[in-house]
Point group: C7
Chain length 76, copies 7
């Protein structure tokens, strides 16, 4: 199956664990629940990580799209 | 219940205590009263916190959306 | 009375003393006379403050909205 | 007389001396000749000032709106 | 064959290996699967590289367009 | 003659020598040939200057509008 | 012949060698193949230069418009 648009590809990651890298250097890992065209994103069971270590648990989380660099659904 | 759009998820946090992280590094905690599509946000009983400590009370507060990194409704 | 939109909440602060925090770290206090959807804001009797000290009086003042972090109507 | 919109307030300053503070830290003083919704601004007899000292005369000047923090018509 | 619009040129790189340089200084190499008018981009088998060395494998990856400086399809 | 809109004022500088100050701190001097609503600007015989010294000749030059702080037609 | 709009001027440089200066301080030289209203730009035989020295060859290259400061078609 071929994803032709970036948001279609994001959609395939819905309800899966994803990693977000933010412009302030932080890494957030959580289950992708929702996103919109601005890439505003809602995660469940979100956690802030640094160098592979858990920094703090954030639970449900709304992330403003313009602070996101990348979203990777490939979290082991 | 499934929130499909990020603003729907934010809406579920209305009238609840939320934590805002801003691009200038500040953390604001308060009761979420209103927001719009730019994520302009109004809080009640807002407080600025740093390292878990209360820095100052801000009362009612309007926060311009483009300064917000994330909003977490999971404040204990 | 419930303010459902952020600009409605700002509107309740019209003609009252408000505190603006700007992205360049400055704090401006003055009477809120006007604002628009960009949060472009006009104050009367505006003053620049730092650490609770008056730095200078600015009188009437137009502040471009995109430089504003937050607006607090709760100035004692 | 009540100015209800920020640009109306700016309009009252047309042909008067105003002070502009720019995001690069510079202060420009001059006679306000024109502005638009982006706050693109044209001054006459513009001067760059620093710490109350005249740095250089700039004459007619077009300032791109997104570089402006504030405009004060209250220049003595 | 002549590409007259930038997105047409990007389209010719679809399903090919490309290098992305991001505003945070990072280099990402991967197979270009999708992009949109904001240059939001989806890569497969994405890898972060630094000074020609592989830093980490990212697998499928969504990159927000406003963080991209350049995209080069000429990866050997 | 009164210029009521900023772009009208810029238009009066067309085919005249102007000075551009850019957000990266550079000063460009050249003959203004064209501009648009984004303040994208085309100069002829453009030169980069620093502290009143010519750094390099750039000839014809397209400058992206969002990098411009100010344009002064008052170049002696 | 008079170019009245900046993009017309850019268009005259199509298929010619141009120099791009980017906001991250890099200089790219290459043959201008395509651009759009956002100044997204495609170059052929692109090279990164620094202080007049070739740093690396980039071949075909898509550059996101918002990272461009200036484009000079006057490359000797």
């Amino acid at each position: 199956m071929e994803a032709l648009r970036p948001l279609d590809a994001l959609n395939e990651a819905r309800n899966k664990k994803v990693m977000l890298e933010l412009k302030n250097g932080k890494t957030i890992i959580g289950k992708l629940k929702a996103f919109d065209v601005h890439i505003n994103t809602v995660l469940e069971e979100a956690e802030e990580h640094q160098d592979g270590q858990l920094i703090r648990k954030l639970g449900n989380l709304f992330v403003r799209g313009d602070t996101i660099i990348l979203i990777s659904p490939s979290v082991e």
